[in-house]
């Protein structure tokens, strides 16, 4: 599996696999709140804690495009034990919504890889 992106992991965690979703607005979160966010690897731009609040406990992993482990979203991911990569930088294009990905926080950095679905 090729690495798609890497960033700072919030804590050590074994690799997890899920379905990539770029979440951009509260409506995206509300839609998942009303159905389910289980199995989702959520990609978000900003490092605030509140955007994902009602679905955080269902997420498989979080990939944030900014921030550090001490940013609010990093703190919350640590408490939920949801693997999280901060300030993720992509080597090329981001995955499309619905793509299968792996988030690996077992090494020095947090890594996002394409996974076979």
């Amino acid at each position: 599996m090729a690495d798609l992106a890497s960033g700072t992991k919030v804590f050590d965690a074994s690799p997890v696999r899920g379905t990539w979703r770029m979440l951009q607005s509260p409506d995206d979160v509300l839609a998942l709140m009303d159905t389910t966010a289980e199995g989702i690897v959520a990609c978000v731009a900003d490092a605030g804690a509140t955007f994902l609040a009602p679905i955080f406990d269902e997420l498989t992993a979080v990939v944030c495009l900014s921030g550090t482990p001490q940013s609010h979203i990093g703190i919350v991911s640590r408490e939920y034990q949801v693997p999280c990569v901060m300030a993720a930088v992509f080597d090329g294009d981001q995955p499309a919504d619905g793509d299968a990905v792996e988030v690996d926080c077992s090494g020095e950095q947090g890594v996002v890889r394409r996974a076979s679905s």
């Binding site: 050590d12 979160v29 605030g48 804690a49 509140t50 955007f51 609040a53 900014s66």
Partner: protein, 373 residues
Amino acid sequence: MSLTDWPKERVNQEIRYHSGIALALTEQRTALESALIPVSAYILVACVECYRRYPEMIEEIAAAAAPEELGRAGHRFATQIDNVHLWALPNFAMIGRKVLATAGLVDWDEDRRRMAIVFDFWDRAARAYRFDDGTRQAWDAGGVATPYRAQVPWLVEHLRPVDGERLGRVTRLNALLTSYLFLLWFDTRSGYQDTGPYQLDDGRVLLLRAFNGLGPTHFPWSGAVASELPFRDVIGAFVLDGVDLRVTDFGTSVTTPADYLSHVEEFSLFDVGRGAPQPIDDDGLDALAAAAKAAQRRLYRTIAGMDRRAKIDAGAYVYFTFLRPFAELAGADLDWTVPRDSLDLYPLLELVDGALPGPAVAETADTYYSAIP
């Protein structure tokens, strides 16, 4: 008790002290933006209000109670006199000052007088909060803040072991309360506050995590969503083995290893909102977690339904009222209306989305908060 008027050099000395620490903390934390809440915009509105109003409000508070007395009140649970509420007093005013200085709106002689009031109050309260040990913040002590040290022996007697099944229950509750309070407090970490490390005789360390204001409070949005929370203020006590624990002046724990939860050996949650601490049994933990989860979902819908202006006003209120616990303890009746004194800049401030305004070049410890010329 009156507050001292400081000469310019002393004010500048204090500005330099805070500037370096604030820069380092901000670099660790980075931006605070959220796709739900326009955090940067509301911070600017609130901090301009803080610079323009805190000195007079602080004088009223200090006239009603000595800063030292208010600082020592933070040794009791549920007062919200804590790391971040103390840190905020000078720093919020200085962030507002930074914004106003960028726009050429600071009168420097008046600035010296105003900042002296804020610094003097903060210095005296902070020293008392830290037991007059010569430090003023966790930063000065290498990440140590132990305001509840007198209560630790009693708390330790009421801790319970954490096995695999109970760890899952504790982890879920802790995460839900943390996440819920971030939302209730509009993406600030002031609703929950970590203190420690409290060194135990057997070599392990105790982390105390305060979850404050879980139910209806003075936040207008709390009444409709939080009325079913069974507790108002609780303290979580975590005994950690093999963990290096430090806390920041934002009230956040920094641990090595980062995943401290797998090192929790004992835990209890205490109700501290009704006088003496009372241990909460595991059924109570589950009930609290369920109520927090439900309240969080209601609150998210409420906030998502607010327009941008309403979100900025609400967030600015949260930030501006960081002074409120001091006023309430002192018995000072103050005007908490916000926005009030930022309306001239509001059309500009509300457009900010992302990084706070500052110079185009990289900030340094000397420039993050600029000295009085």
